[in-house]
C-alpha cells in the first residue's frame, strides 16, 4: 500500500542528487575520459599504447611506482597503528573531552599544506628542533628532511584524521554490552579488543585504510617540498611531466597507472571486507 508513495519519495530523492551528479560527470568523469584518450592518442590521431610501454618498461619509472606504493602502505599502516587507540579514546569519551579530542585530531587539516610542511622542515632541519635536542644530549644529529622517513611522518600527521574518524564512527556503533559480555566471560580488556572490538570495527578500519592509502598515493606537495632527488613519487612525476616536460600524453598514462593501482587496492580491500565482516 505504501509502495507507490515511497517510490515517489525515492524518485524525488534521486532528483535531489542531480546537481551533485551533474557536477561529478562534468568535472570528474569527463576529465578522466579525456585523460584516457590523451594517453593512447597517436601523433597522427591513431591509437597507441606506446606511453604505457614507456612507463612500465623503464626501470626508473617502475622504481618510482614501487616507492610510491611502499610509501603509501607504510603511511597507511602507521596511521592504523597510531590511529586505532586514538579512535577508541574518542569513541569512549563524552562531552567536552570528546570535542577536544576530535578537534585535536582534525587540526592538521585546518592548516595549509605548505605551512604545515615548512613546519616539519623547521623541526627536521639540520639545525632544527630535533637536532637541537640530539645535540643537547650529545648524540649524533640526523636529518630527516629529504628522506622517506621524514616524508612519511609528515604525511601520517595529515592523513591520521581520516583513519581515526572512520574507525571511531564504527566503534561508536558497537553495543557496549558486547564488551561487558566479553569481560564477564573472562576476557581481559586487551583480549576483548582483539577478539571482539577489532573484528567488529573492521568496516571502519577498511574505510580508513582505503582513504589513507588513496590519499597517500595521490599526494605530492609534501614530497615536492620536503623531498630530495632520491625521493620521487608517481604523482610528482606526473606533475613534472605536465609542467616541466610538457609531455601530456605521458603524464596522462602515468596518471592512469596511478588510478589503476588505487582501484586494484580498493577492490582487494573491499573483497577482504566481504570475507571479514559477516553479520
Amino acid at each position: 500500500m505504501s509502495r507507490p508513495r515511497s517510490m515517489r519519495q525515492n524518485a524525488r530523492g534521486y532528483l535531489l542528487t542531480f546537481p551533485a551528479f551533474a557536477f561529478l560527470v562534468v568535472f570528474f568523469v569527463g576529465p578522466l575520459i579525456v585523460n584516457l584518450f590523451e594517453s593512447v592518442k597517436n601523433e597522427d590521431g591513431g591509437l597507441t599504447y606506446a606511453q604505457y610501454v614507456r612507463a612500465l618498461g623503464d626501470a626508473y619509472y617502475l622504481e618510482v611506482l614501487g616507492d610510491t606504493i611502499v610509501l603509501s602502505l607504510a603511511v597507511t599502516i602507521a596511521s592504523l597503528v597510531l590511529g586505532y587507540p586514538l579512535a577508541i579514546a574518542i569513541a569512549r569519551s563524552r562531552g567536552a573531552l570528546k570535542s577536544f579530542l576530535i578537534f585535536l585530531v582534525v587540526t592538521p587539516l585546518l592548516i595549509n599544506v605548505v605551512v604545515r610542511t615548512f613546519g616539519w622542515m623547521v623541526i627536521f632541519g639540520r639545525s632544527g628542533f630535533i637536532n637541537a635536542i640530539l645535540k643537547l644530549l650529545d648524540l649524533d644529529t640526523a636529518t630527516l628532511t629529504g628522506t622517506w622517513t621524514g616524508i612519511g611522518i609528515a604525511m601520517v600527521q595529515v592523513l591520521l584524521p581520516f583513519m581515526v574518524l572512520s574507525i571511531a564512527s564504527t566503534l561508536e556503533g558497537i553495543d557496549g554490552e558486547l564488551e561487558d559480555a566479553a569481560i564477564t566471560l573472562g576476557a581481559t580488556p586487551l583480549k576483548t579488543i582483539i577478539h571482539v572490538i577489532f573484528p567488529l570495527s573492521l568496516q571502519g578500519v577498511i574505510t580508513g585504510t582505503l582513504l589513507v592509502f588513496a590519499l597517500s598515493m595521490g599526494s605530492f606537495v609534501t614530497v615536492m617540498l620536503m623531498g630530495s632527488n632520491s625521493t620521487m613519487v608517481l604523482p610528482l612525476l606526473v606533475y613534472q611531466q605536465l609542467n616541466l616536460a610538457s609531455d601530456w600524453p605521458f603524464a596522462a598514462a602515468l596518471g592512469n597507472i596511478l588510478i589503476f593501482v588505487v582501484l586494484i587496492a580498493t577492490a582487494l580491500q573491499l573483497g577482504l571486507a566481504k570475507r571479514g565482516v559477516r553479520r
Partner: protein, 364 residues
C-alpha cells in the same frame, strides 16, 4: 553437566552496605543482601530504582563507592570482572555478531583456559540443555529472539559460573514466549543449582521465577521476602503497590477504636498491634487486595462499604469489577462463573467488605 568442579562451586553471595553515587544522585544506598548458594533471587523495582546498577556492581562492571561484595566469604571488591566467575545474560543478549553459536559459547571457555578437548563436549552438553544443539553453525542474526535468548543463557552457563546474573533477559520477548521461557529458566536453574539473580521490573516475572524477591525503590532495598510473604505482608505501601494489584483508601488512624476511619467516617477495624503503622490520629493508608474484597447487593454483618458499580470487565477467567466508594474506585476481582461473581451492572448499588486480616495499614 558431569563436571566434578561443579559441586565445589557453591556460590554464596553477600552484599554488605553497598553504596554507589553518580555525581549527586545516589544510585544505591547501604544495600545489604544475602543470597544463599543455589538460590534464585529477583531484584524487583521500577526503572531507575538501582537494580541494574546493583547487578553491574556484583559483576564488577561498576565501581562501587562503599561496602563490599563477597562470594563464599571471599571479598571481590578488588577482583576485576574477568576474574570473578560471574556470568551475565544481558537485556540485549550481547551475542557476538561475528561469531556463530559454537564460537559464542567457546569464547568464555577459551578465555578461562579450558582444555581444547573439553570445550566441544561442554558446548554440546550445554546446547542440549537449552535445546539449541542443531543451531551450532548459525550466526546470531540468523536466530529468532527466543533462540538468541537461549544461546545467551547457554553462553553464560557453559563456563559454570559461581553466580548467574540475568538483566531483564525476557524484556524483548513477546508475552506468550516469555511465560514459557520463564518456566524453562526456572527449571534449568533448579537443575544446575546455580546461584542466580534476576533483575526485573515485572512483578509477575519475579513472583513466578524467584525463591525470594528483593523489592528496590530509589536505591534502597525495601523488603526481601519469598513471593507469598511479600504479597501477603508487604512492609511498605510501595512494596504493596508494586507487587500485585491493590486498592488504597485513605483515612485516619484511630488506636482507641483499633480502626482506620475513612473519609466518610466509616470505621474499618484492623488487627491489633502494628508497630510500624502510623501514630494515633495520623493520616493512614488502608490497602486491600482486589481478590480479598467481597461484593454483594445486600449489606453484610460487621463493617461494609457502600459503593456504586461503575464498570464490569470480563477478562477470560476473571471478572474485574470497579465500584466507586467514598472518594476512590475499588477494584474487585472474581473468578468468572464463581458463585459470587454475579453479573453486576454499572450504576447498581453494592456493598463491599473484607476480612480484618486482609487490611494492610501504612502511614500515608
Amino acid at each position: 553437566m558431569s563436571n566434578p568442579d561443579a559441586e565445589s562451586r557453591i556460590g554464596h553471595l553477600s552484599i554488605r552496605d553497598l553504596s554507589k553515587s553518580y555525581g549527586q544522585t545516589k544510585a544505591l544506598s547501604d544495600v545489604n543482601i544475602e543470597v544463599q548458594a543455589g538460590e534464585f533471587l529477583a531484584l524487583l523495582g521500577p526503572s531507575g530504582c538501582g537494580k541494574t546498577t546493583l547487578l553491574r556492581s556484583i559483576a564488577g562492571l561498576v565501581e562501587i563507592d562503599h561496602g563490599e561484595v563477597t562470594i563464599d566469604g571471599k571479598r571481590l571488591n578488588e577482583t576485576p570482572p574477568w576474574k570473578r566467575d560471574i556470568s551475565v545474560v544481558f537485556q540485549s543478549y550481547a551475542l557476538f555478531p561475528h561469531m556463530n553459536v559454537r564460537d559464542n559459547l567457546a569464547f568464555g571457555l577459551r578465555m578461562k583456559g579450558v582444555r581444547k578437548s573439553k570445550i566441544d563436549t561442554r558446548i554440546n552438553d550445554t546446547l542440549k540443555l537449552v535445546r539449541m544443539e542443531d543451531f551450532k553453525e548459525r550466526y546470531p542474526a540468523q536466530l529468532s529472539g527466543g533462540q538468541q535468548q537461549r544461546v545467551a543463557l547457554a553462553r553464560a552457563i557453559v563456563v559454570q559460573p559461581r553466580i548467574l546474573l540475568l538483566d531483564e533477559p525476557l524484556a524483548a520477548l513477546d508475552a506468550k514466549l516469555r511465560a514459557s521461557v520463564q518456566r524453562e529458566i526456572r527449571q534449568l536453574q533448579s537443575k544446575l543449582k546455580i546461584t542466580t539473580i534476576l533483575v526485573t521490573h515485572d512483578q509477575s516475572e519475579a513472583m513466578s521465577m524467584a525463591d525470594r524477591i528483593a523489592v528496590m525503590d530509589n536505591g534502597h532495598v525495601v523488603q526481601i521476602a519469598d513471593p507469598t510473604t511479600l504479597y501477603r505482608h508487604p512492609k511498605t505501601a510501595f512494596a504493596a503497590e508494586f507487587v500485585g494489584d491493590i486498592n488504597r483508601l485513605s483515612g485516619k488512624m484511630d488506636y482507641s477504636g483499633q480502626c482506620v476511619r475513612l473519609a466518610d467516617g466509616l470505621a474499618v477495624s484492623i488487627e491489633a498491634g502494628r508497630p510500624e503503622g502510623p501514630g494515633d490520629g495520623d493520616a493512614a493508608l488502608l490497602m486491600v487486595r482486589p481478590e480479598a474484597v467481597r461484593i454483594s447487593r445486600t449489606p453484610v454483618e460487621g463493617f461494609c462499604l457502600t459503593g456504586v458499580i461503575n464498570d464490569v470487565v470480563l477478562i477470560g477467567d476473571r471478572v474485574n469489577i470497579y465500584a466507586t466508594c467514598v472518594d476512590t474506585t475499588v477494584k474487585v476481582v472474581k473468578l468468572t462463573g464463581s458463585s459470587d461473581a454475579e453479573i453486576f451492572l454499572p450504576g447498581e448499588k453494592v456493598f463491599l467488605s473484607w476480612d480484618q486480616a486482609d487490611s494492610l495499614v501504612f502511614a500515608a
